[in-house]
């Protein structure tokens, strides 16, 4: 299995009023093509920061980040936007749909920034919505559908560009247990059927259990990296 992304000796500092705070400390991590990785860790362990760097929303202070063989650590804003557009799909805890745009328009939005024509955009968005089970809702507005459905729309939006990597940040955080399970099963299906690489950040052990590999962060360092069932959270304390 080839590495889709590789972090080498990566550090990230944040400037605060009390001086710079190092959130990630010399972290190294490799994730291969087709893996389903859960990133866990307590609040403040740096998992959101790691997620932002992997997602090219932020750049590391030091260290190297290779995404699909490209060094993205030194890219400028325009190139980072291009990488986000072409390589990565995001799924957020709060869904982050545009409330006044129809579901089709929401799912088609990433294609706008790939300069793809309207007709093709709409066809691809519609087929993606169909795939996540929202065939009958194309022209609804996000506030009119349930949270679980909104998260499905967000997943469809992440998939529509056919990215190499899907990043999900607490995707079940705003959902009830039952709906959360459905969403995780959808992720599992996507990973299994199309071999898409998935990285899910969560604090929920049950959510993490859908993944094939677990990375546990503690205090800006990797505390555990291995199979999901080989880790006991109680050991941390």
């Amino acid at each position: 299995m080839s590495d889709l992304l590789a972090l080498h000796d990566l550090s990230k500092d944040y400037d605060t009023d009390a001086g710079p705070v190092r959130v990630l400390k010399n972290l190294s991590l490799k994730i291969g093509e087709g893996e389903f990785v859960a990133v866990m860790g307590p609040s403040g362990s740096g998992k959101s920061t790691l997620m932002n760097i992997i997602g090219c929303l932020d750049v590391p202070t030091s260290g190297r980040y290779l995404l699909d063989g490209r060094d993205v650590g030194g890219l400028d804003d325009v190139d980072l936007a291009k990488v986000r557009s072409e390589v990565i799909g995001f799924v957020f805890q709060g869904f982050n749909l545009l409330p006044r745009a129809t579901l089709v328009a929401n799912v088609a939005l990433p294609l706008v920034y790939q300069r793809i024509g309207r007709n093709i955009r709409n066809v691809r968005a519609a087929s993606m919505l169909e795939r996540v089970g929202l065939k009958d809702w194309f022209n609804s507005l996000p506030p009119r559908i349930s949270g679980g459905q909104q998260q499905r729309v967000a997943i469809a939006r992440a998939l529509v560009t056919e990215p190499r990597l899907i990043l999900a940040d607490e995707p079940t955080g705003n959902l009830d247990t039952h709906t959360g399970r459905d969403i995780m099963q959808l992720f599992q299906t996507i990973n299994r059927d199309s071999g898409m690489t998935l990285v899910v950040v969560t604090h929920d052990r049950n959510v993490a259990s859908y993944a094939t590999r677990l990375v546990y962060l503690l205090d800006g360092r990797i505390h555990y990296d291995g199979p999901v069932d080989g880790f006991r959270e109680e050991e941390v304390a």
Partner: protein, 407 residues
Amino acid sequence: MILSLLGEALAAMAANRLRTFLTALGILIGVAAVVLMVAIGQGTQKQVGESIASMGSNLLIVRSGAPRKGGVHGGAGNMPTLTTMDAQAVGQLARASLVAPTVMGSVQIIYGPNNWSTTATGTNADYLSIRDWRVIAGRDFSESEAMSGVRVALLGQEVARQLFGDENPVGKSIRVQRSPFMVIGVLDAKGQSMGGQNQDDMIIVPLVTAQRQLFGTQFQGTVSMVMVQARTPADMRPLEQNIRELLRQRHHLNVRADDDFRITNMTEVSETASEVTGMLSILLGAIASISLFVGGIGIMNIMMVSVTERTREIGIRMAIGASHRDILIQFLLESVIITMAGGIVGIAVGIGLALGATRMFDIWTAVTAMPVLLAFGVSMAVGIFFGLYPARKASMMRPIDALRYQG
């Protein structure tokens, strides 16, 4: 590429219809105000120009004088110093083509049961030629009638309407100051003069008739005004000088004495007037531009609020692949479309108001292409100028900050 971003901009505007409309309203009012005000300014310019032109072309007006006497400056025309003989002498000057001595006064006219109080102008046959005024019914009076004191009269449109209604006045007898006069003709409509009087509310009678029979004691062989038409525009200034020398000589004024007459060069008056009304146009336009500027600030204000309010949206767009430039262009497009739409509707409203003002309040307006295009161009520039800062602010956001923003 612009096309798909245009779609996003339009969608965002459609999602906020009321706000979009209110923002456009500011620009709409500004542009409409500029178009209307400039139309009024240019209309005034045209009106003044036309009423000066209606006086006649290449025209010098000699008024009998207002000499200084012990520091008291009498108004022009109060002291009749010009005579019919003076007018005849002026007529002999090579550069003068037509000369019309005139006297004026109020008269009461009676026809049957109707009576009307108006102005009578006593003058000669050249008067109508100088003023480019036509007789539309009947005839003009002849040179011999003008000099002989027969009781004939030409009626202005207003007088004819007031006394005769639909009846044909030609050949009828009217009483002017108790004397019977024969109506020999009716004048064409002339409209308002520069001073705002209705030029159609008057009658014209032969000079000698007016001097002897209407204003007997006031003008014994004198005239209040002599209208002189120069042969060519180039003759105006030399003719003015010739008249001055001639009249000073005829009135036996010594070198140190002031003129006892005044000469007004109507070409100069017209030039001054068009300068003044041109200034008026600019002034009105400038005042109206302030409202356009205020509208622009309104755009900026709304766009700033919009950027803050839509921080999260900007973050989402960036996370899924929008570059800074995409965001900048989208927000800039929004403000330019708003101002363009406001500008186009504003032009229509401005022209509509200008036409309405002409119809309802009798205000002269003139809509020309230049200020309209200028207003449109300025409104677009306003959109770009006032939209750029908020758009830049939106595009400079870092995606993680924008996504974290709790709006």
